[in-house]
Amino acid sequence: MVDAGTGLPPFERVVLRHGPALLRYCAAEVGPERADDCFQETLLAALRAYAELRDRRAIRAWLFAIAARKAIDLHRERARAPRPEPDLEALGAVGAAPEPDPALWSRVRALPPKQRQAVTLRFQADLSHREIARVLGISEAAARRNVFEALARLRAELRR
């Protein structure tokens, strides 16, 4: 009897279960025009490493940890070679929906990195504080604090 023996679900199910949240996370982190890059780079890296994943109960935190690294890479790339502002009409043609709340998300992207990631993981990817802690390599208390501080800061800025 053949048995790959990993106990992992078929990767297809990972994509279906977590893909929509991953795409939202990517759009929020790197902007809608680079979201597809972030989504694909994350899932390709995940697929490459998938068979070595040991804890199948932590797939979501593992996946978003990869996504967080890819988002940072894309941020760096953008800093090195700034792109012109996206042409919204062209984006529409390739299916990149504009963000529903650009004013809010540009503020989110201006937050300190940990706060930005924490708030994005919490609200766009719907991760628990424990999973956010795992993704960012910080304690659960620190994850909670980063979300809280991000919200306080956004609230203060929006009130201004």
């Binding site: 795409l23 899932l43 809010l104």
Partner: protein, 210 residues
């Protein structure tokens, strides 16, 4: 955007942060692009597709060696994919493959009555030993003909092992391509079929065998 929106309290700020910028359409497109890249990078061990047939939706799975699995509607997609993940590799993804296109076309021709034998490379890894011998013997039963479990067992080298042959056929990973529906009990009854007795009767009727 109104002023009131911008002066939102904490709960509506959270609601705004939750609002999804990505549409389902966009996810589908991103998923399609991912599948193509994953295949091009050699990261997919089992590419699969859903294929509509008169029996219902089939699951077709291929590896680099050939077709490894045909899942019948009665088996359920989740069970078929779980089985592939466990026994071949968890890198199972709905993705494009030439072998899938060939299998789809030949199955369509078969169901339309225009094809009497399949010409597809098969990956036999999900059947070992005697089971594989039984399936290979079954693959040689011509279109529109039937054989008994005992005959198939004998052709596989163990005339007394008709029960084991039945078990091999009940677990055939490649139904339709390896035509286990052509194997019947010697009593003349229809016997069991992984896809259900109705599907077996239907296939035999299609082939004019009963």
């Amino acid at each position: 955007m109104t002023n009131i929106d911008l002066r939102s309290d904490s709960s509506s700020l959270e609601a705004r942060l939750r609002r999804a910028p990505a549409s389902p359409d966009r996810f589908e497109r991103a998923r399609g692009a991912l599948a193509a890249r994953a295949v091009a990078s050699g990261l997919v061990d089992v590419a699969f597709a859903r294929h509509a047939s008169p029996l219902g939706t089939l699951i077709l799975g291929v590896t680099s060696r050939g077709v490894v699995r045909v899942g019948l509607p009665a088996e359920g997609e989740d069970a078929v994919l779980d089985d592939l993940a466990r026994r071949v590799s968890p890198r199972v993804l709905a993705s494009p493959a030439d072998a899938l296109d060939h299998a789809r076309r030949q199955l369509d021709e078969y169901f339309a009555g225009r094809r009497r034998r399949f010409e597809l490379p098969l990956d036999w890894r999900l059947a070992q030993g005697f089971r594989r011998a039984v399936l290979r013997a079954t693959a040689r039963i011509p279109y529109g003909r039937t054989a008994s479990y005992r005959e198939v067992a004998a052709r596989a080298g163990s005339p007394a092992a008709s029960r084991a042959a039945g078990s091999a056929l009940a677990n055939n990973p490649l139904p339709l391509l390896v035509p286990c529906h052509r194997v019947l009990p010697s009593s003349g009854a229809l016997g069991d079929y992984r896809g259900g007795a109705d599907a077996k009767a239907r296939l035999l009727a299609l082939e004019g065998a009963r």
